[in-house]
Amino acid sequence: MELSLTRVDYLQVGLTSPRCLRVLPSSTPKTQQKVVVGDQDGTVQLFSMKRGEVQNSFTTTSPKAITRLELGGALGTVKDKVFVSSGNEVRGYTKKGKQFLGFDTNLTEEIKSMYISGSDLLVCGDYVYNHYHDCQDSNYFLAADRINDIISLPAEKMKSLVPVLACEDRLLRVMKDSEVLYSVELPAPPTSLQLFYNDGGENGDQLLYGTSDGKIGLVQLGRGSAVHRWVSEGGSGTSGRVGGVTCMDHHDLTGDGVRELVVGREDGQLEVLAYEDGEEAPPTLRFSMSCSESVTAVQGAVVGNTGYDEVVASTYTGWVFGVTSEPMDRHLSSESGVVQISQDSKQKIQRLRDEIDDLQQRVLKERDQYQAATQSTFPGISAVPFFSVNDKMSLSRNDASYLLSLEVQTAIDNVLLQSDVPIDLLDVEKNSAVVSYSTCDPESGNFLLATYRCQANTTRLEVRIRTIEGQYGTLQAYITPRLQPKCCQVRQYKIKPLSLHSRVHSFDSTRPYNTLVLRGQFTLPEIHAWVVFCLPELPERTPATTQAEFTFISTFLDTQLHCVYSAGEAIFKSDNISTISILKDVLTKEATRKKVRLDISCEVSEDSVVHALHLLHPRLEAQLMLAKQVSLIEALRELGCHEADTSFLSPEYQHILDNADSLQAQYRKQPCHLERLYGMITDLYIDKFKFKGVNVKSQVPHLLEILDNYGSLSIQHLVNFFQA
């Protein structure tokens, strides 16, 4: 059954951080509930809707941004107390607006996430986790990577407190007191946690997680280990790429007695998914809506009108709106064909208009004053505060490319992208901005200059970027919003030498490895800084242990890289010789720059090259096959339009003809894939001989010739060439 829901706006507050909106529970079902929302200006307000008008129950302000808003109450009672985190303080309010708690956690970091369970308060900064029982410091833990979210399994069912941390290094850390009980590896960095069915399922041990690349998964957390139940790729499947999950909730919107899953995503999608097989299988999409800016919070409730279920949501720029099952056209009388606007709305619109006129006058006056200042000789200043930019650059494992998303609190005028390394920009279907490439003069150090001119009311821009491993530098985005006085802000993103590697937690030691060993007078923080310089997805903080160990996988080739380092010694192992070669070059350069003497030794495994070629082989073959099939499509179609019956064609050709559209789509989705593979093989070839001290650049055309005829040759041919 398709759901039909319509959006109704309630109010606009300041910018909101993720999960700063909650709906207070009501004693009787289907009656109007109150909404509490906190924004980055530090305002917390509780409101309800009465005949389309916002009724404010209370408003409080604080100097610091609200970073999280949770509801709590004694175990077993209604959770109707509001807790907010702001700076490193946690405050509690009753639903009447009376502050009953003001608690300074004394954390060194600002609170980023928080969870309340009865009288237990769990707070997390970037790396620290702290547990307070009745405001008494009870447990403490320092995580190895950034903590994105925290939750605890329902205390009523678990009989004990089981906090779970969602960490950027793709791990769920299940805690017991101050120790990690065990950790669960996830397919992508988790960004949001939610109890399954809002109560953790029958035994209270089922937990949903949402990831930064849009996946949603269910894990069952046992006493000593976890079981993965399912992972859903998410999204409507048409665009192929979905935004990261920012928030989740469960609510019965269809009225069939089963709660649906409500998901809010970074790219502005708000989705309702239904569990058709309970906890056994991923839910199916029932409704999806785009609101063109990140959704920061969702919750199912009854707010707008009694009797109608809806999803209340907030967005980054502070819109609070409902997506309601209430049919919208009942306000309109259809006989006259004229849209009737209710008296209330008319007044509301008029009030808004008056307010805008008034503001307009003031702005004009201020604008003149500002202009006058630019003409005066009096040495004043023109100071314009920073506008907020919500930006993110993340590597997507599926197609080995980066997604840069920029979101501004007001409409964007244009964005200038500048890079000092060669990178490619790929088109993102959703973007409506007009892109224009400017010619680059290599003398000025630019390899990419592109402007994105945005259409009116665009607050969010996404750009897909393809990097080349071994080429590193900085990508800069100059963002100019349509706000007077016109200003622009610069955001910088590092393109790392091994930009296409991503973190994993298992290491396959059976492969043939090349080893790079560095010894010298360096400290752990120093070597950690160098490794961070080379590889993405690593915490900036130096690990607290004496030895650091990280494993990476190449998103393009699936080769592994294993780094183990401590003060004075670092060992890198990879089954791809090019990876080792890049690391060696970059680390040597960095060490020389810092004037640290390094003792470098390399152990090259001949087998690894053959191994890497065997990893490449199926991809190369698949790509060549695809290219061949796509080139045949037109001709086959022509045959098809002449003949009524195409059964005389060979099965292979029939297959191509039947799947022509999907083949073409696949081909379009991976532009230059073949060229990238060729580049990898060439690098492999050059690097293999570089370690032997032989320059084989002159042989490269010969190699390319073999690759061009690869379809008719076997892999052995290529292997022989490498070993010649």
């Binding site: 606007i341 619109i349 004043g380 023109s382 409409a411 630019n446 100059y478 100019t480 802000q489 003949e643």
Partner: protein, 725 residues
């Protein structure tokens, strides 16, 4: 939201832009489009078409579809009343070398003509005072108008390859004018053979469609669509996708047609003709191939019919008054409130900026002069910072490998530096913008951005410069607009130059002072030019592109001469001057010896190519005869069991085939060469026309045409020189 009233899948690929609809039997509308394998399909769901055979064959896959073999790339297709109305519509198909008018009902050719300029765009209708309808074929720089007999009573030239054509009553005199969009970014309005108006756009004009009255819609190759009312553009929008088809149709039933656009990403939208606001949209899975209207449901009303390249067809009906309001978003009050709140939000943000500015300013603690970093959360520059701009000509330098160019100088008035400059301008960069972004350590408060405008058009430069301090994360953006004069790529010569051979001279009944004013406004001069003591004027320039001189002279009686070897430049200058002075008619004496010599040589080559073509055709005919014999002989041998001779005959056949293929390649090359020569000829005629204005211009073009028809090169030379035969 409007839903389609019917959808069909034709299971035929459709080539974008080659879609039309015709009532070939006067009653039933048939969707007609070009598909793969150089075929045209006719979809006739209502009635079986009469006869097969000839060009027509029935499709194997569907009984409703008939296929026409064209055997050449279809470059344009249209249907309309060309013969008598009672005979129904005629299908006109254009290919790179021919045009075919085809009577679908009777499966017979109406005419089949060679058009050596190709047929890039076709439209059918009544033009000006011509009594019978014409099929107007736009080719490389030329436009032919064929009547039903295959005669071409209309012929004219235009500046570049024609990319779109349409007929509309532009000046409201109940006669149709011809609108021509071409690859040199111009939209020209032809009344009879005369150019009435020219509008310069920013990219090749890919589609034109008449709308209400003298309004028309246009689409450009860079993804722009818009609407003109006469000479003024009402609106335009630019998308990153390309508009494949535009059409005017009254979808919301308010009596005024909207502009319907079909996009390369499969989107269809209808925009209000006055505001450009989207009133309706829908999505196809694949690129839109074409939009037409026709009575496809046989209910007496025309539907809007949209097709995608995959053969999906959707029909839409105009909404009635009752349903109109439901088409509008029911959330109108929601939308109004949202929009108003958004505006309030923006105003509040701006106000906050000013308040913050004042607070900081009055506190006196903050000082400027240092970069603003992440910790500051505020970007500060001195309030009286100003950005000064200047346009100048830079003669370039040999060693830095910089050719001469125009440059914009930008400078701030204090210690702030310019981090980056973005210049948005249309038509002079590869994209729509040019970015100047120096290295971090070489930032200064004074920069020069080189520009190389490729064409002589006036350009508005929208400059955005980011001003702040080195290492800052926040910059103030200074926005300003400067106009680049039309002839900015010509530098004033202070030393004497050798006078070029080519020249145009004419007499104007104007004061020299106005000519001087024109020069001052069209060229980039450091200081304004003055007339000399006698009241005359003489000024010489050097082209920065070709390094060739240009001399403009006027004596006190306003006898003017322009000396340049570039006939096109002379034409541009005269057109610009005629425009500036509002001249109705201007006849000139032109002398371009090199151009004329070249024209002679080109015409000679055209003749040679024609001869070669004939020879090649004859050869091909010979070969096909031999092939027939060889096939028969080889097959005979096979039947006789004489394998050795069969092999021999087939061997010969193979060799002959190779010959044919190489012959074909030669033919292709020959044809390409021929095309480019013909284009040159057309362009020369166009240039000769542009040396004149008004009536003289038209008469020159038609006289040239006559001379070429009679292959009278001497007359041609004379016409170009004097303007009359």
């Amino acid at each position: 939201m409007l839903v389609p009233i019917f959808t069909l899948n034709l299971n035929q690929k459709i080539i974008p832009g080659r879609v039309c609809i015709g009532k070939y039997d006067t009653a039933h509308a048939c969707l007609t489009a070009s598909t793969t394998a150089d075929k045209v399909f006719i979809h006739n769901p209502h009635q079986r078409l009469g006869i097969t055979g000839g060009r027509m064959s029935l499709s194997q896959s569907s009984a409703e579809i008939s296929l026409l073999n064209i055997n050449q790339t279809v470059s344009a297709i249209t249907a309309g009343v060309l013969t008598q109305p009672r005979h129904g519509d005629t299908l006109v198909v254009g290919t790179p070398t021919n045009v075919l008018a085809y009577d679908v009902q009777n499966n017979a050719d109406v005419f089949y003509k060679d058009v050596s300029d190709g047929a890039n765009a076709i439209t059918i209708g009544k033009l000006g005072r011509h009594v019978s309808p014409l099929a107007l074929i736009g080719g490389n720089c030329s436009i032919h108008g064929f009547d039903s007999e295959g005669n071409d009573p209309f012929w004219t030239v235009t500046g570049d390859n024609v990319s779109s054509l349409t007929l509309t009553d532009f000046d409201g005199d109940d006669e149709n004018e011809l609108l021509v969009g071409s690859e040199d970014f111009d939209i020209r309005v032809f009344k009879h053979e005369e150019i009435l108006f020219e509008m310069s756009e920013t990219e090749a004009v890919t589609a034109l469609c008449p709308m209400h009255g003298s309004r028309f819609g246009y689409a450009l190759a860079n993804g722009t669509v818009g609407v003109y009312e006469k000479l003024s553009r009402w609106w335009r929008i630019k998308s990153k996708n390309h508009a494949i088809a535009i059409y005017s149709y009254d979808l919301d039933g308010d009596g005024v047609p909207e502009l319907i656009t079909g996009w390369s990403n499969g989107k269809i939208d209808a925009r209000n003709d006055r505001s450009g606001e989207v009133v309706f949209k829908d999505n196809f899975q694949s690129t839109v191939a074409g939009i037409v209207q026709g009575d496809y449901r046989m209910d007496g009303k025309n539907q809007l019919i949209c097709c995608s390249v995959d053969g999906e067809v959707r029909g839409y009906q105009p909404s009635t008054a009752e349903s109109r309001y439901s088409m509008m978003d029911v959330n109108i009050e929601q939308e109004t409130i949202r929009e108003l709140s958004q505006r309030r939000h923006n105003l509040l943000l701006e106000l906050k900026n000013y308040e913050e500015n004042q607070r900081m300013g009055s506190s006196g603690e903050v000082v400027h002069g240092k970069p603003s970093t992440a910790g500051d959360q505020v970007g500060i520059i001195p309030a009286n910072t100003q950005l000064q701009t200047g346009l100048a000509i830079n003669m370039g330098s040999e060693e830095k490998n910089k050719p001469p160019h125009v440059e914009i100088a930008l400078a701030t008035t204090n210690d702030t530096v310019i981090r980056a400059v973005i210049i948005f301008a249309e038509g002079i960069f590869e994209g729509e913008s040019h970015v100047y972004h120096p290295r971090e350590h070489s930032l200064t408060s004074n920069i020069r951005v080189p520009l190389y405008p490729p064409k002589d058009v006036p350009v508005d430069l929208h400059i955005k410069s980011m001003v702040g301090y080195k290492g800052s994360l926040h910059y103030h953006v200074f926005e300003l607009t400067r106009q680049l004069p039309r002839f900015s790529m010509y530098a004033l010569c202070t030393t004497a130059v050798t006078q070029p051979q080519g020249s145009v001279s004419f007499r104007l009944s104007e004061r020299v002072a106005r000519i001087v004013m024109w020069v001052n406004s069209s060229f980039l001069l450091l200081e304004d030019l003055q007339a000399d003591e006698e009241g005359g004027m003489e000024v010489s320039f050097l082209s920065l592109r070709s390094n060739l001189p240009l001399v403009i002279k006027a004596d006190p009686q306003c006898h003017m001469s322009i000396y340049t070897d570039d006939m096109e430049l002379a034409g541009d200058l005269i057109q610009a001057l005629a425009n500036y002075l509002n001249l109705d008619d201007l006849q000139v004496e032109a002398d371009f010896p090199s151009e004329v010599d070249q024209l002679g040589a080109v015409l000679q080559r055209v003749e040679e190519y024609h001869a070669t073509r004939q020879r090649l055709s004859a050869e091909m005919a010979d070969h096909s005869g031999v092939i027939r014999t060889l096939v028969v002989r080889a097959e005979d041998a096979r039947l006789m069991g004489d394998m050795q001779s069969m092999r021999q005959w087939y061997g010969e056949l193979y060799n002959l085939n190779k010959d044919l293929i190489s012959g074909y390649k030669i033919r292709c090359n020959n044809h390409q060469e021929l095309l480019s020569c013909l284009k040159q000829v057309n362009q020369t005629i166009q240039k000769a026309g542009r040396l004149r204005a008004g009536k003289s211009k038209t008469s020159v073009i038609s006289a040239c045409r006559q001379a070429i028809k009679n292959s009278n090169v001497n007359a041609l030379t004379k016409i170009i020189r004097t303007g009359s035969p």
